[in-house]
Structure formats: C-alpha cells, structure tokens
Amino acid sequence: MGMVYAVLGAALAALLAGVGSAIAVGRAGQAAAGAVTEDPSLFSKVLILQLLPGTQGIYGLLIAFIALGRIGIMGGDPVSSATVGLQYLAACLPMAVVGLISALQQSKASVAAIALVTKKPDQFGKAMIFPAMVETYAILALLISILAINGIK
C-alpha cells in the first residue's frame, strides 16, 4: 500500500504541474502568435515570455523524478509501510497544487507582458519580470517538496 501512495504522490506532482503548465503555455502561445502577426521581429522576445509559465511542469517532473528515485521505481528501496508512502504523497503535494495554480496565474501575467512588449518592444526587460514574480511561489513550493522528500527516513 505504501508504494501506491508514494507513486501517487510522484504522479500527482508531474500530473498537476504539467497540466497547469500545458494550459498556461498554450494560453500565452495564443497571445504570442497574435503579437507576431503584428510584428514578426518580436518572435524571440514573445517566445521567452510564452515559455516562462512552462517551468512549473519541469519542477513537477523534477519532484516526480526525485521521488521515483527514492521509492524503488528508479532506484532506492521499495516503500513497505503505508505511513512512509503517505509521507511521500504529502511531500509531493506542495509542488503539485502550487505548480498547477501558479502556472495558470503566471500565464495571465505572461499574456499581459506579451501585450506590453507588442506595444513597447524596448520594455522587454521589465515585461519579463512580471511573470517571473509569480514563479517565485512555484520555486518555494519546489523547495519545500525537495526538502520534505529528502527528509523522509
């Protein structure tokens, strides 16, 4: 039973954060495509802005790999007790939930930043910061998930 919980946790991290990033990058991509129809030279700038909310998916993947690497799927010892399994599940949750929500929210900031760059291409440096502010919380969740997984005995 412990294995089920642990794998569920790893899967949730990859799943929810990945879903969030996929939706978010898709939304930002629509805005980016619109910007490029106005001015094709903006391509590289809006591409960066589109990719910003994609990192949550990577963080989710990261947590999934770290967890799988410790519970006997990709290394480490299999989890036998349900308690330990639940610990893994709980440790993965911050990344899963915050990853999902912050990606969705970050996509809104990204879309707005793309609109900003379309009007004022020289303000790219500032436009990049707004979505990056949202990502801070995904990074904090990632940190807690890593520390929690590492702390499980």
Partner: protein, 673 residues
C-alpha cells in the same frame, strides 16, 4: 563604474552653416541636442508642422523603398548566411558617402518602378481566377456541338440548361411530358453529375409556351449565354491562360533583373533614416532671421574634438559645465568586465540624478548568480565557447549585441566554475558512462552535492543572498555619502545593517534556526556572546529605524507610527533572502533533469545499439535541458538583480544619452579623424 561626466554645449552660427554643422554632428555622434530655450522673440523654434511634414515625406519615400526591397527579396532572393545579423554595418568613408548620396534619387525611381511592376503583376494574376471559373462552368457542356445560346431552328425551339440534381433522360422526358401536357418534345442529356444534369430540350415551336413553363416548374436553369461552341471556347481559354502565364513570367524576370539595385536601395534607406533624424533635431533648434542656436550635451572627453572640428565654421561655440537645473543625459563608461551588463541596467532604467552607475556591482553578482542557477560545467563551457567564437569571428558586430554576447560569455565562465564546485558535467554523465560502458564508476570531486545535501546548498544560497543584499545596502550608503547626505546614509543604511545583521547573528545561536539549517555543528564553535551582541545591535537598529523611518513627517506621533511601519520592512528582508532559494531550485532542476536523460540513455546497456541510443538521447536531451535552463537562469538572474538587489538602492529614472546619430541599418560612415 561610472557615469561619464557631461559638458553643456551651445552653438550659435549663421544659417548657411546650419546644415553642414548638423551633418558633422550626426557623423561624430557625440552631441545630444535638447530643445533650445525660446530666446524671447529674437530666436524662435521652428513650427512643429513644418518638420513633421518633412519627416512624413521622408518616411513615405523610405516606405516605397522598403516595399521594393521586400519585393526583391521574393523574386531575387539575396544569399545571406544565418549569421548575417552578427556581421554589423559596412563602413563607408565620407567621400564615398557623398558619391552614393547622389544615387538616392535614382534608387527611389527604381523602387517606384518596381512597385509599378508589382501592381501590374497583381492585376495580371487577378485575371487567372476568372479564366478558371469560366472553364469550370463550361466543363459539363464540353460534349455539346452547338453554341450554348442555341435557341432552336425555324420550326423548333430548344433550351440548353441544367437541373440541380441527378436525373436520367427518361425521368426528365416523363416529368416534362406530364407537366407540359404534350409528348412532342425531346430531352437529350449532355452531362450527368452528382448535383446537376446538363440537358438540351427540343420541341416544336408551337409548344414553346407550355414546355417553357413546365421547365421552370421543374427547376430548370438556363446555361450561361455563350455564342460559341463550348469546346472551342475552352481552347480559347487555354490560350488566354498561357498568355497570362507568359506575361507573369516576363514581369517576374523584369523584377528580378533589378536585383543589382538592392545595395543602392539599402543605402537610400539609410540616407532617409539619417535625413529624418536630422529633421527631427531641426525642430529643436532656435532660429532668428539669419542665425541659428542649438544647445546640447557632450561627454567631457569628446568636448575637445567637438570644439576642434567646429573651428572650421563661423560659429560661436560655448562649452560649459551643466547647471543643477539641467536634465543631463547619462552615458555609461565601464571596463570590459562590467560593460556587458550595461544593457541589463538599461533595461531597468538609467541612473537618475545623483545615482551611481551600478553596472560593476551588478556584473560581479550577475555572472555568479547565473552560474549557480545553471550550475553545469559542460553547459557553461558550451555557452562560453559558442559566445567566444562568435566574438572572435564577427569583430564588426554592433555594440549592443556584442555586449549581450560578452555577457553570456562571462555567464558561461561563471557556470563552469559552479559546475566544478558542485561536481556536475552534463549532470552525472561521467559516473553513468563509466559505470555502464567501462564497468567501473569514476568518482567526481565536488564541494557540495546539491542532490544529496540540499540543506547545505540552501545555506550557501542564503549566504549569497546576504552578501548580495548587503552590497546593495552598502551602495545605498555610498550614494548617500557621495551626495553629502550622511544622515540619510546612517538612517537608511547603517541602522538596517545593524538590525538585519544583528538578527542573523542572534538567529545562529537559536536551536530552531540551527536545526532547520542542519548547522548543529556550528553550536560548538560559535561563541554565545555573539548572540548577545547580535540582539543588542538589532535592538539599536530597530530603535533607530522607529525614530528615523518617518523623518519626513513633522508631527512626532505620526513620525513614530511611520517609523514603526518602516521597521515592518524587516519582513521584506526575510522574503528577499528566501527568494534566493531559487539558486538551489534552478540548480537542482538542471542536474536532476540531465541525470534523468543520462539514465535513460544508459538503459540500452553497453552493446553497440546501446551506445548509439545513448548518443542520440544524450545530444537531444542535453540540448533541450540547456536551452530551457539557460532561459530560466537568465530570467531569474534578472529578477534577483531588478527586484532584490536594485530594491535596496537603485531607482533609476535618468535619461539615456542619445546623440544626433546616423541610426542606419546597413552602412556607417567613418569620419576621417
């Protein structure tokens, strides 16, 4: 680390010298011309509309040429390499420029002719769909040997047309006979399609009326009127189409024959850009009946050159120190280590009045922070080598681009350093390869292994944070002292040092913090007296901040309240420091994902197929990982710089030094010194 000191320049001269002087200033690119003060009646600024009209005219011509150039790029494409944008502008001497400038009119004429040809091409092409439509409408009638508008002989009447569905000859005859109430008619199906049946109906002239109304009731529609036999008309259409193609080809080859005019047109484009830059400047120059007057700024080191060059004209030149009230533009001057990040600073804002140029301080941390986030020696080497090669190969690169690439070169070096410290070369590629293909795992030295000791790495990130933030605070003190505001330096700088520094000292004595950071070993070596000193320092700092944080208010009560609110800013320091945990998170992201790719690659074992699989997965996986994580490192290094670091001391708001310059795209003029 400095802002270039500026001199104020005023030039007064005869109107006849105005254009030559402006040309000279434009080629020197050293004077930022501001709007001249209105000289109380004698000197007046030009009407805005006048120069706007001129600029609009230049823009129209430039657009004509742009249109012609894009036409040429379709029909006479230019061979250009992928790296064309790195090559920079070609340089021209002043004399060649003069020669070429005479060809601008010719280039404009050529461009107009090209656009004329394009219009012709479009109209020729527009006739093609018409031909195709007509042909399509004739296809059902192709077998008919009569003209389509055939309406019968002396004693018979005929209808040629179609029913909108599939019907056989028999069905049609039966239904017609029934509707028209006569059987003296004949229906011949010419073509049978799924959604139409082409048919010719013939009857004796005396039944014309009945058959006609019967046909109408049966949804018969007449064929398009055509006086010739359909098959002949189709041959005619083929001929017409061939003619259109021929015309099209001729026009295209004519357009392509102008390919060698491209360089001239590019030059003309540059010429118009220079002219319109001058026009815009002209609106800022004051004029009297015969003289003109302009003011601007130039860096101190170029002031002499300017004075020397202007001696050739009958003009009064006054070079002076700018006064307090002047809005002096800012130009950076830095050594080659700090100059690359000037673009980053500029992206935020130019330093405002009294502020220092933060480039040097930004540079010191930028390369390190980027390195810690990417943290892979091999990735760093790839970036550094790629940027280094570009810098060596394209010496003529434009300055801003060159700065950016140099910045990434240094970032690459920083990444190599941190990759070595954290033992990461393509993640754990060395360990994985040696274990899978050589059967013996090679150990790699590292200072901290972030995967196994994340807490240690986190503490390192927090140490970097404290150093970074305290450097920002030090720069605040430096700026204040430089501007003679020693009190502000103490209130906003020193007190915060005491408070935050004291709290950190104290925190290191508490079990809670030590346990959290897994630094229990520190407890034996750390003298407890430091904790007491820390708490004392923090208390002094806190009291100082409460007393002075709201010093702009006169009312004491209000002042203390504001001071207490300022003290609340200590939570800002906490969140600032925590924000640096992204150094750990992004560093881990790189190394975990690259080890996953390595692991996937080695799954094929050590046979031949396994090696091929490993190489493929290795190349694709690491290219992907490098791209994604380099982007993340770049974005978050900027964030730490803009939000956490600049938040401590830098507001910006200055105006960038923008001299009257050539602003060209393809050519630049080398002024003979």
């Amino acid at each position: 680390m400095a802002v270039l000191p500026m001199k104020k320049v005023s030039i007064m001269g005869m109107k006849s010298d105005e254009q030559p002087i402006l040309d000279l200033l434009q080629r020197l690119e050293i004077v930022d011309i501001e709007t001249a003060p209105d000289g109380g009646g004698v000197f007046a600024l030009q009407e805005k509309e006048e120069s706007a009209e001129k600029v609009a005219g230049l823009k129209r011509d430039a657009d004509t040429i742009l249109g012609a150039l894009s036409l040429l790029s379709v029909y006479a494409p230019e061979k250009s390499s992928l790296f064309a944008s790195l090559e920079g502008r070609k340089s021209l001497s002043g004399a060649t420029f003069g020669q070429k400038a005479e060809g601008v009119g010719h280039s404009l004429e050529t461009a107009k002719k090209l656009l004329e040809l394009e219009r012709e091409l479009i109209s020729v092409r527009a006739s093609r769909p018409k031909i195709e439509n007509e042909r399509a409408s004739l296809v059902p009638w192709a077998d008919l040997k009569l003209p389509l508008n055939f309406s019968g002989t002396a004693r018979t009447t005929a209808w040629i047309g179609s029913f909108p569905d599939k019907r056989t000859e028999e069905e049609i005859t039966v239904s017609l006979v029934k509707e028209a109430d006569t059987d003296e008619l004949q229906a011949d199906v010419i073509h049978e399609g799924d959604d139409m049946t082409a048919v010719m109906v013939t009857t004796l002239s005396e039944h014309e009326g009945e058959v006609d109304s019967a046909l109408r009731r049966l949804n018969f529609s007449r064929a398009p009127g055509l006086e010739s036999v359909p098959s002949e008309r189709m041959k005619e259409l083929d001929r017409e189409e061939a003619e259109v193609s021929e015309k099209e080809e001729k026009l295209i080859s004519e357009i392509a024959s102008y390919g060698n005019e491209r360089e001239g047109m590019k030059f003309a484009l540059d010429y118009y850009a220079m002219e319109s830059a001058k026009c815009e400047t002209e609106s800022r120059i004051a004029r009297s009946g015969r003289t003109f007057y302009l003011t601007g700024y130039t860096p101190v080191k170029t002031a002499e050159i300017l004075e020397e060059k202007l001696k050739a004209y009958d003009a009064v030149v006054v070079i002076d120190d700018p006064s307090e009230a002047d809005d002096v533009p800012v130009l950076f001057t830095n050594n080659s280590f700090a100059a690359p990040v000037e673009g980053v600073v500029e992206n935020f804002s130019m330093p405002g009045k009294g502020e220092i140029d933060p480039s040097m301080a930004v540079a010191c941390f930028y390369y390190v922070l980027f390195g810690m986030m990417l943290s892979d020696a091999a990735y760093g080497a790839i970036i550094a080598i790629a940027c280094g090669l570009i810098l060596l190969k394209f010496k003529n690169m434009e300055t801003p681009l060159k700065k950016t690439i140099t910045m990434f070169f240094f970032c690459g070096l920083g990444t190599i350093l941190s990759g070595i410290l954290f033992g990461s070369f393509f993640g754990d590629a060395i360990q994985q390869i040696s274990r899978t293909f050589f059967g013996r795992e090679v150990a790699v030295w590292c200072w901290i292994n972030p995967l196994e000791q994340p807490m240690k790495m986190l503490v390192l990130a927090f140490c970097v944070a404290v150093v970074h933030l305290f450097t920002g605070l030090a720069l605040l003190i430096y700026t204040n002292v430089k501007n003679g505001q020693v009190k502000d330096a103490i209130y906003d700088g020193v007190f915060w040092y005491m408070l935050v520094g004291g709290l950190i000292l104290f925190g290191l004595t508490t079990d809670m913090v030590l346990n959290m950071l897994q630094l229990q070993s520190l407890k034996e070596t750390y003298p407890p007296i430091l904790g007491s000193i820390g708490i004392a320092l923090a208390a002094v700092g806190a009291v100082g901040i409460i007393l002075t944080g709201g010093r702009e208010s006169r009312n004491w009560f209000k002042r203390i309240l504001k001071g207490a609110y300022a003290l609340y800013g200590v939570t800002g320091y906490l969140s600032d420091i925590l924000s640096y945990s992204r150094l750990l998170a992004l560093g881990l992201a790189t190394s975990v994902i690259s080890s996953v790719f390595n692991q996937m690659g080695t799954m094929g074992g050590s046979n031949f197929g396994g090696v091929i699989m490993f190489i493929l997965i290795f190349i694709v996986g690491h290219a992907l990982n490098l791209a994604i994580n380099a982007l993340g490192a770049y974005v978050h290094t900027n964030r730490l710089t803009f939000v956490e670091f600049f938040g401590k001391f830098y507001n910006g708001g200055g105006r960038k030094f923008l001299p009257l310059a050539m602003n060209t795209k393809y050519y630049k003029i080398k002024e003979e010194q």
